[in-house]
Structures are given as structure tokens and as C-alpha cells.
Amino acid sequence: MPQLDELQATVRRAVLSGDASRGASAIDGDGLPPAGRLQIYRNHYLITLTEALAATFPVVARLVGERCFDGLAREFSVLSPPRTPCLFEYGGNFPIYLAAVPTLHALPYLPDVARLEWAINAARHAPDAPALPAAALTRLPAACLSSLTFTLHPSTRIVVSRYPIDRIWRAHQPDNDARERIALGQGRVRLLIHRDAEGDAVWRLLPRAEFLFLRALRAVRTLGEAWERAQEADAEFDGGRTVAGLIGAGVLIDYDLVQPKP
């Protein structure tokens, strides 16, 4: 193995594990010992990734408190190091990690709040894609409409939780000083997260029928199939109006016409 590769593997281990015993002999020992010098790089790694996670998961940080969050973020950053140099892409596994920490089981909604924050972060930084003009579908013959499939904007995410994570999220925004008691047993919530025309990540609650409709469209089901699926939850569901709304919000960005099956 080339020496440079071996040396970098050794330093990587020291930064991630804090165990400098194997790297020490490769480092000049004048003044501060090698372990102390490697510790500076390890501290930088832990501190900057903790800051990055706190920026992506501010509500989780408020729910558990700063000290607890720092400890969680440090453990996570060692267990699950970044795979890309873009810090806004770091932390996708944090909700899974939180669900596995036994001491957090008293906050059963915490992983779902983290999934919402990750979805907001992903929506904020997702690639750009041109929107569909509002009148895009009006030129199409009415008979075709039920055979359309749609492409969703890359920022689109759907998060489902058995806890009222929408209310928990709102109650822990920095500009919200009101103390409120939130009952956890309010039933399932379904949230649509996407980017609006200004480029900001936004979310709203989805009624069950619209959730089933969007989930079907996301799975490249036709408009007709998605509509039927939604009407199982709500006989009054209007797929045409919903599609117009989703195009207006920039959620649906392209369509395709599926040839009817013979």
C-alpha cells in the first residue's frame, strides 16, 4: 500500500475514534505530543459537524436541550461520518439514529420531528427544476387527462407521523414564545414539504385523500388511478382542482401521457 494512503487511513481513524496510538509514530513529537495535535483535528470535526446538525435540526435541539443535543450530535458524527463535502447533505440518518437511542424513548415523537426537519432541509437544497405553466393541461383533449402521469419537483417530500409533529414544530420556532400543551394522541398527520416560488421550503398538512392522491402520483400512477384511490377516502375529492393547485404550487413540474392498455 502506498505510504500516503496508509498515513491518511491512520489519521482518519484517529480523527473518528480519538485513538491516536497508531498515528503517533508518524507525527513529529516536539512540544505538544502527537495525540494532543491529532485531538485538535478531532475537536474541529466534532464541533463543526455538531454545528451543522444543530443548523439542520433546530427543533430537535430545542426539544432535548443544547447539552443533550451536543452529546447526540457528537456520537452520531462518529457513527455516521459525512459522505460528501456539502454539509447541507449531512444528517439524513440522524432520525434513524435518534430512534435507536434508548434514553430518548420518553420523547417518542422526536425521530418524526427530525424526519420533518430533514425533509425541510432536503427541500431547501434540492436541485432546481423549471415549473409547469399554470395552463399546461388546458390544451390537452379532456379524454387524455385521466391517462396522465406526473413528475414531482425534486424538493417534494411527504412525511407521515402518528404524532402531531406539525404542532410540535410550530411550538418550537424561535419566534414562538407561547407555551402550549400538545396532546400526543390526536391521530396521524400527513405533511407535504416542498419549495415555493421564492425558493423557500414550506410545508402544509395533507388531508388523507390528497395524501393518497399524491402518493399515487409519486409512484407514477395515472391521474385516473390516483383520483380513484383518493375517492376511497373522500367521495367528494376533486382531482382536477387538486392538480391545478399542485401545479400552481410548483409541486408538479412535468407530465407524460400513458398509452391506454389494449
Binding site: P2, Q3, L4, D5, L7, Q8, A9, V11, R12, V15, L16, S25, A26, I27, D28, G29, D30, G31, L32, P33, P34, G36, R37, L38, Q39, I40, Y41, H44, Y45, T48, L49, A52, P81, P82, R83, T84, P85, C86, L87, F88, E89, A123, R124, H125, A126, P127, D128, A129, P154, S155, R195, E198, G199, D200, A201
Partner: protein, 293 residues
């Protein structure tokens, strides 16, 4: 003063005043109030997604010369460069048309893991070949010259026979790259590892230096040893200003830039620090600016 009328998008005019590192917290203010800034530099990795961030950077680019400063390419990595990351950098360069593109003499990734820091290299022939190969690949991919910055270091490897400034000079010779001379990093590295900052500065090939960085550092007590940490969290220290005054007599045409990352102060503080750099530059170079160029 908008620079869009007076400067081409692909280069800074001669005698450019000191610019600032522009951070996310200040971007909205810069777009709204349009302050007098000579040029700005941003971290490329923060603009590799879509949405508001890159849209705002385009708005800034319409009014100011922008430099893209990469922090994650790991040019010193023993393995090959991350092709996906280099593609994203190339896309951003094509979109923003920066006046300068720079990266670091450091490694930050190994085996697909990013250590989110600028780790030091052993200055050996093997490392020289690896970094030169990676810089050449980067410059070929971008179709332009890249400036390479000297890092701040907290350790030196036992086997590191080539002096850092000579290592950089050799990279210039092998690849045709330019250099980004960070005078704060010279001061920090020489203080932490021993070394004469002035001799370090004098060993750089002056014609290759295309940019100067200025920043603050802090002093940490580590087990009784004072270690300087390059935290970009305070005003430029007096010894670094002194080194800057020497640097500008050697590289009078290289534009300077104030970097500030932790404990980010109001924008006005950054602009005042940049103005101070201009006064220091003028005092050091005086009327010899054009002659020395």
C-alpha cells in the same frame, strides 16, 4: 459601487481593493443595501444545491465580482478526486463565472469519508505527485487556472522533507496553478510547528500569487503548550498585519480578502477590516505600487 459595469466577469481589475468572505448571514443585507465592496468570496460547497442559496449568489454575482473558494475537493487525497464533487464544482463555475477559483493544499476525504477539515499532508515526493496529478485534473476539468492555498497546520509528520513553500513552488512549476497566500495561515503554522514566517514568505514564487487571505486566529492552551487555532473568529492580529505588509511588497497586485467565519460580526465590521487592509497595503507599498508590479 457596482462593479458590473467596470469589470469583466472573468478577472479582477488591477489594484483591486480588499474584498470580504461573504457568509450566508450577510447575503440578504448585501443584496438589499448594495454596500461598496470591491469583491466577495464564497465557499463553493454551500452553493451546490438549488433553491434560494444559489439564486442569491447569482444576484450577488450580478453586482460584484465573485470568487469561488472550494473547501472539500481533497486535492491532497491519496486516491482519485471525487468525480461527482468535481462535476458539481464545474457546474457552479459555469453558472457563476467567478473571477477566481481556489482550493487548498490539504486532504479531507479518505475511503469515501469526509473529515470536514483541512488535514495536513506529509511533504514528500509521493504526496507531491498525488497533489500535482489532482490539480492538473481539476484545472483540465474546469478549463482554467486554480489558486492553491497554504493551510494552517497543528502537526507535522516525521517524514516530511520538503519545506511547505518549496512544495507549493513545485506545484506551480508542475501544473501551472496559481497560489493563494494566506498570511494568517503562515503565522499560525510557523507558530505551531516552528519556522520563520518571513523566510516562508520569501520562498514563494511571487509571480504565482493571485490572492492573499487575511483572518483572525485564537490562542489555545493545550496541555501547557500554546497552540494557535485558525478559527477566523476575530480581527486580524498585529503580527499577521506585519506579515501582510511584507507580503504586499512581494505580491503588490494580488487582491486581498478578509475571512471571518466564527463569531461573525456585522457586515460593517468586515468592511472596516477590509478598509484597514487597504490602508496597510498603501502604507507598505506606497507609491511603488506600479513600479513593483
Amino acid at each position: 459601487m457596482g462593479a458590473s459595469m467596470s469589470s469583466p466577469r472573468d478577472r479582477l481589475p488591477p489594484q483591486t481593493r480588499c474584498g470580504i468572505g461573504l457568509r450566508a448571514a450577510h447575503i440578504a443585507e448585501v443584496i438589499a443595501t448594495h454596500p461598496d465592496i470591491a469583491w466577495v468570496e464564497v465557499h463553493a460547497e454551500n452553493y451546490m444545491g438549488g433553491g434560494r442559496a444559489v439564486r442569491e449568489l447569482e444576484a450577488v454575482r450580478n453586482d460584484y465580482p465573485v470568487s469561488l473558494h472550494g473547501v472539500g475537493l481533497s486535492l491532497g487525497g491519496a486516491g482519485r478526486l471525487d468525480a461527482r464533487h468535481m462535476g458539481r464544482l464545474r457546474d457552479l463555475v459555469n453558472r457563476i463565472e467567478p473571477v477566481l477559483v481556489s482550493e487548498h493544499l490539504a486532504w479531507s476525504a479518505h475511503g469515501g469519508t469526509y473529515l470536514n477539515g483541512l488535514l495536513p499532508l506529509p511533504y514528500t515526493e509521493e504526496a507531491l505527485a498525488a497533489v500535482a496529478r489532482n490539480i492538473a485534473e481539476l484545472q483540465d476539468s474546469l478549463g482554467r487556472r486554480v489558486l492553491i492555498e497554504n493551510p494552517s497546520a497543528y502537526l507535522r509528520y516525521a517524514d516530511s522533507p520538503i519545506p511547505e513553500a518549496e512544495f507549493l513552488a513545485e506545484l506551480v512549476r508542475c501544473t501551472g496553478c496559481g497560489l493563494l497566500c494566506d498570511v494568517n495561515n503562515i503565522h499560525v503554522t510557523c507558530a505551531n510547528l516552528g519556522g520563520d514566517p518571513v523566510a516562508w514568505l520569501n520562498a514563494l514564487p511571487a509571480r504565482a500569487v493571485g490572492e492573499i487571505h487575511l483572518a483572525g486566529h485564537c490562542a489555545n492552551d493545550a496541555d501547557g503548550c500554546v497552540i494557535l487555532i485558525d478559527d477566523h473568529g476575530s480581527p486580524v492580529a498585529e503580527p499577521v498585519w506585519a506579515l501582510y505588509e511584507r507580503a504586499v511588497t512581494r505580491f503588490p497586485c494580488a487582491p486581498a480578502l478578509i475571512e471571518w467565519d466564527s463569531h461573525l460580526p456585522p457586515l460593517a465590521t468586515l468592511l472596516a477590516e477590509a478598509a484597514l487592509a487597504d490602508r496597510r497595503h498603501a502604507a507598505a507599498v506606497g507609491r511603488n505600487t506600479y513600479a513593483a508590479a
